[in-house]
């Protein structure tokens, strides 16, 4: 991917969960590059290997429990890696290292928001979720509440989060692969869609888990190697690394300190990331793949370790890219923008990690990192699709439409059709949104998760007074508010829809929409004096015993 192509793009910013202040995206078309054989060969090996695993997994996937939860037989360490694989998207890797590259310290602050949700999940959510649920977080939310309304609400929340996340990943995948592999956009989107459907329909959770584990190991190894080479170049001294970076970077010392950010925006982003993580359906679903609460705790511990380590690596990689990539003529290109000559990175603002891979490891290693980026997207979309499919089959079909009067074989079949449907929808939306800046969609997904899913799930586990009416009213309002505030905010209302001024002044709504959901859930539950509400409150004690002790929880299947 040398200086042959001139690319200006918003590319990976599109798939990234970066807030708009962080995106630093450039406008313009994405051009295809020449075919990158190193990357394609390494990626084909990955695909062949994971399809082999899918074949193996398919023969072990019979019951609903196998399909949704890998039979509950995943160990804590494996699940920790898979959670990390689910969570460390290509956006985290390329987007956060790019953010460090352009802004320095601010990039670290951003990654902290992604990390601090994990201890909270460990202390308050993971084991209770494992003890109360079976396949989806709706199992937990509806444990003592009315099945139909709560499952419909939870499935809606799940499908909205999954769809938004999927669109962002598909568009990002198309652009990234076009850039890194030299494949046409639509081809790339279709490849991702077809592979994820294959993994999920045939291999279910077991195949999905292993795709995530393999990808996590590849990503962690690749990033470790890059960080090691950077530190070696800096003589294993952070001070030397930072000093070189400060002298090269146009902002000089400013990269070592926080920049100007609005306090409300920063805290709101932090709240959205922290509590949104605890409301992401594809992450929550992972806790049902282990045999008991003990393993669930272990898995978040490992996941927190891997994810924290990964963010330290991306920080070093970002600074390493300043040292080894910034300003070097072989990585930059000059384009005309608004009549002025602008020097920029080849491939656009999100390419520092990819160029750094070349700088420290040559063509072959750059091919490896490109293949890892592709594998990363594939793993994330597979987890999302499985979670969306289970919301359709387990929550909507089995428990709402059929009211529990169906059998496992039917439910699995519906799940497979749902996966196929989601795959088609993801491909179509991915192609439809090719030209749109969809960076806001991941932010919206996190906000919806934090303002709708999380409050209902949290109060269902912790507050005796929660009633069905309260949960549905407050959760729905939180969902609507998060969507409305993002649509009328600076990114969508002004930059995408072209209006003059935003109606809602902030990009991150969670600081408003999440408390609102909590307050409305509380108020409506308090006012609910129906007999059903009294029963729901009375059922809390038994639920509490089960959530604390695991008595009666779904055990592991024997494999």
């Amino acid at each position: 991917m040398r200086a042959t192509d001139r690319l200006t793009l918003a590319s990976i910013a599109l798939m990234s969960s970066l807030p708009t202040w962080a995106a630093g995206a450039l406008e313009g078309p994405v051009k295809q590059r020449e075919t990158n054989w190193h990357a394609i060969i390494i990626f084909l090996i990955f695909v062949a290997f994971t399809l082999g695993i899918t074949y193996w997994a398919a023969r072990r996937t019979r019951s609903a429990k196998d399909f949704y939860a890998a039979g509950g037989g995943i160990t804590g360490l494996q699940n920790g890696l898979a959670i990390a694989g689910d969570f460390m998207s290509a956006a985290s890797f390329l987007g956060i290292s790019a953010l460090v590259f352009t802004k320095g310290y601010d990039g670290l602050i951003y990654s902290l928001g992604f990390l601090v949700g994990w201890p909270i999940i460990t202390f308050l959510v993971a084991e209770r979720l494992r003890n109360l649920g079976k396949f989806t977080f709706a199992d937990v939310a509806s444990y003592r509440l009315k099945q139909t309304p709560i499952r419909s609400f939870a499935a809606t929340g799940t499908l909205i989060v999954v769809t938004l996340y999927l669109i962002a990943q598909m568009v990002g995948a198309g652009q990234l692969i076009q850039l890194l592999f030299g494949l046409p956009y639509a081809t790339a989107v279709i490849i991702v869609g077809v592979l994820m459907v294959l993994y999920v329909t045939f291999g279910g959770m077991l195949a999905t888990t292993w795709v995530q584990i393999i990808k996590a190991v590849m990503l962690l190894c690749g990033a470790t190697f890059m960080a090691f080479m950077v530190m070696q170049a800096a003589g294993f001294s952070f001070e030397t690394l930072f000093q070189t970076a400060v002298s090269v970077h146009p902002k000089h010392l400013a990269i070592m300190a926080p920049g100007n950010t609005s306090p409300i925006e920063t805290i709101s982003l932090g709240i959205g990331l922290m509590f949104g993580t605890a409301g992401l359906p594809h992450i929550l679903m992972r806790f049902f793949t282990v045999k008991d609460a003990k393993e669930a705790r272990k898995s978040v511990f490992y996941a927190t370790g891997f994810i924290g380590y990964f963010y330290i690596l991306t920080f070093i990689i970002g600074f390493g890219a300043i040292m080894l990539v910034m300003g070097k003529p072989e990585y930059t290109t000059t384009v005309m923008e608004k009549g002025k000559q602008v020097t920029q990175l080849i491939g656009g603002a999100n390419m520092p990690a990819i160029h750094l891979a070349y700088a420290v490891g040559g063509d072959m290693f750059q091919g490896f990192i490109s293949a890892v980026a592709f594998a990363t997207i594939l793993a994330v979309v597979s987890g999302l699709t499985l979670s969306g499919a289970s919301a359709i089959s387990h929550d909507l079909y089995a428990n709402v439409f059929a009211r529990g009067r169906t059998n496992e074989a039917h439910e699995i079949r519906v799940s497979k059709y749902a996966t196929l449907g989601l795959g088609v929808v993801a491909i179509l939306l991915g192609i439809a949104f090719q030209k749109t800046n969809v960076a806001f969609m991941v932010g919206l997904a996190f906000s919806v998760a934090a303002s709708a899913n999380f409050p209902v799930l949290f109060l269902a586990m912790f507050w005796r007074g929660l009633t069905t009416r309260g949960a549905v009213a407050g959760g729905s309002l939180g969902l609507l508010c998060a969507v409305a505030m993002i649509v009328t905010g600076p990114t969508v209302w002004v930059k995408i829809l072209g209006n003059a001024a935003p109606i809602f002044p902030y990009d991150n709504p969670s600081i408003f929409s999440m408390p609102l959901a909590f307050i409305v859930i509380w108020a409506v539950s308090k006012m609910d004096t129906s007999a059903a509400a009294a029963q729901e409150k009375a059922a809390f004690d038994a639920q509490f015993v089960r959530s604390m002790t695991g008595v009666g929880a779904e055990g592991a299947a024997s494999h």
Binding site: Y105, L108, I109, L112, G113, L115, V116, W118, P119, I120, T122, F123, L124, E127, F238, E239, F242, Q243, V246, L253, M256, A257, P258, G259, N260, T261, S262, P263, T266, I267, G270, M274, K294, R297, K298, V300, F301, T304, G305, G308, Y311, I312, D541, A542, V545, R546, M548, T549, G550, V551, G552
Partner: protein, 106 residues
Amino acid sequence: MDDPVIQRIQNNPRFHELVHKKSSLSWTLAIIILVAYVGLILMIALAPSVLGTPLFAGGVTTIGIPLGMLLIVLAFVLTGIYVRRANGEFDTLNQQVIAEARNARN
């Protein structure tokens, strides 16, 4: 599980001991990480120059860098503390409570 077991667990003072110990640990740790994170964010918002102070005279490494790294390490260590106690001490207590409730049936 049948109601009598749940009932007996609820009446067992050791269950309440378990709940008390576990809840106070989870909430204490959750509050520590929240305060640390929100504290850092507030410093960024209100006193960015503090985080931009060099660690030592003549150096470029600022106080903000080790503080940020420390938060990552803190998240990992607190999670580790919780999992260690919950999977050791609390789990043993939990198993005893469950065993007592089940054996009482006979």
